[in-house]
Symmetry: C2
């Protein structure tokens, strides 16, 4: 079942005009007589004429659509980012095509190729936790496709980048734990490939050092899938809780890492914060309603989406090749709640 729209040709035929006249009338060209204009405009109105964007794209060599690649939509942080992206894209007349990597490098490559083949005008990327090799993005970048990285960025490509101050987020969270009197602060981090992981680990370590402590490697566990798999979190936690000096506080470096910690603690009847304190990066709207209410580092996700999109569209619409790339760093915010009360 096909959906046939009215075309300029239809209007021309119906009105006994040429397509060029109709086209000009619709675009309110000065060359067309008022009567003809009125005629055409009325007919177009009544028959619900809409210019065919596909024909325009073909002609203009642009699709007015941008691709997004994220690991997961069903994750509040990313859905908030997408909200931000959408709000700007919509305003500027761009479509948004979303693809998910589900944290798989292979799916990321496939999706990037797919998006590229859908003739997008630009790409917004947050790489998967497995991504180490960047050839799939490099080749597009070299061929001139505007790309903006957000959140999980990579150094190898010279493009606009928008991130949160992950160092500060982890630094503040860790400092808060120290100031609250916790002695043995462990951390559950995501994939070591990710920029955000490195930055957060640096913040965590620096906070410890600035307070005269040394970071114990045994207190750092990585989950390649960033908490997507409960079992991964479970085994990481068990490893830490088996240590001679059990940690009395934990920093969760991603939404799912944090919530899965909480799930594990509840399952094992480990009390938070009495047995162990918990602070985590999270953009869930519900962390205040959890048991206990959760101390979190919250990221300005919506703004991040907006800013990335502005930079991307600016680059897409720039007449001359952009040479000067921005690296925007947005501030995270710490909300202290019950889970770190001592």
């Amino acid at each position: 079942m096909k959906f046939e729209a009215v075309t300029i040709k239809d209007i021309a035929k119906a009105l006994g005009l040429s397509t060029s006249t109709v086209s000009r009338a619709l675009r309110d060209s000065y060359e067309i007589s008022p009567e003809t204009k009125k005629l055409v405009l009325e007919y177009a109105q009544n028959n619900n004429y809409r210019p065919n964007p596909i024909a325009l794209s073909l002609k203009e060599k642009r699709s007015r659509s941008i691709g997004i690649i994220v690991c997961e939509i069903a994750n509040s942080f990313f859905s908030q980012i997408i909200n931000g992206i959408e709000s700007i894209a919509y305003d500027k007349g761009y479509n948004v095509i979303i693809a998910q990597s589900h944290e798989s490098y292979e799916r990321e490559v496939l999706n990037v190729q797919y998006l590229a083949s859908r003739s997008i005008d630009g790409l917004l990327v947050s790489v998967s936790s497995e991504t180490n090799d960047l050839d799939h993005l490099k080749s597009l970048h070299e061929r001139g496709l505007p790309i903006v990285f957000f959140d999980r960025i990579v150094d190898e490509l010279d493009t606009h980048k928008v991130i949160v101050d992950n160092f500060k987020g982890a630094y503040d969270a860790t400092t808060h734990l120290i100031k609250s009197g916790y002695k043995h602060i462990a951390t559950l981090a995501g994939s070591e490939y990710l920029s955000i992981t490195k930055e957060r680990m640096d913040g965590y370590r620096q906070a410890l050092e600035d307070n005269g402590r040394t970071a114990d490697p045994a207190y750092v566990q990585h989950c390649l899938h960033g908490g997507m798999l409960y079992e991964e979190v479970e085994s990481a936690l068990e490893k830490m809780l088996r240590l001679p000096n059990k940690p009395d506080a934990l920093l969760g470096c991603a939404d799912k890492l944090t919530t899965n910690c909480l799930r594990y603690f509840r399952k094992k009847k480990i009390r938070v914060p009495d047995d162990i304190a918990l602070v985590g990066f999270s953009n869930l709207d519900l962390t205040d309603l959890l048991s206990p209410s959760l101390t979190v580092v919250r990221q300005p996700a919506f703004e991040m989406g907006q800013l990335s999109t502005e930079l991307l569209i600016q680059q897409i619409e720039s007449k001359k090749p952009v040479k000067d790339f921005a690296k925007k760093i947005l501030p995270p915010q710490l909300f202290t709640r019950e889970s770190t009360e001592k």
Copy 2:
């Protein structure tokens, strides 16, 4: 900055062939000699040739993209649905263009028009809570655009529809409250315009009646914005808690309604379930970690997205006009937890 892709014409020129030969070689046509094929294929491979989907769309009069309109992406129920939609669409080679109504009728109309003008092949719709007038969808439907409604459906249009058994969801939840010994069961429902609200209210009432009780209208409060506004939930709850016979149990008919109830109760130090029990429709992954853990009616959102998309694509690709429309009803599931323990 524009991103120029290799075209058939480029290949033809480079290889001294005609575009049609190249086209045929690429499509592995039997008419082309093995040597020419090899030549062309190799060149295409090396230069990363991809057929331009826009040119194809223009030719085939289809865009291989489908539009989705939902109230909000940043809502686990809908993001799970979108996940399901995406999984099927991707498999079948379709793009997905997502638009949000933010529960506003006006934005829904604008978005629908926008999507239609982007020459989508079909539309997946869950109407906004304000939507009462359906002309914007009817006119597209009449012009032959395949439309599938999911979750929040409308009777006026003859199309495929995919819903959850909302009646059963509410019936089971209410029955569970009755069996648990609660006497005064109130409900916080969404917009009265929505199909899901009506169905859930019917289930709620029927459960009461089947247990020899009568539904008291004072125990039913509606929130037009479906819980998006905390204040709306707050004032609805205050109205109910001021009643002479205060309710001792509450059924929340949507994710945000339920979580905002919990937020209100916590703020007012009303204990759940001791002062009031709470059961709600919710697809959050965290309801087991809330304080108290929440009894919920969970909907098969992912499956709903998949099924809707299958029906839509089936209709899009059907040679003859589809006359026989399906109404699929998926089962919800009740998870009983602390918030309704007596």
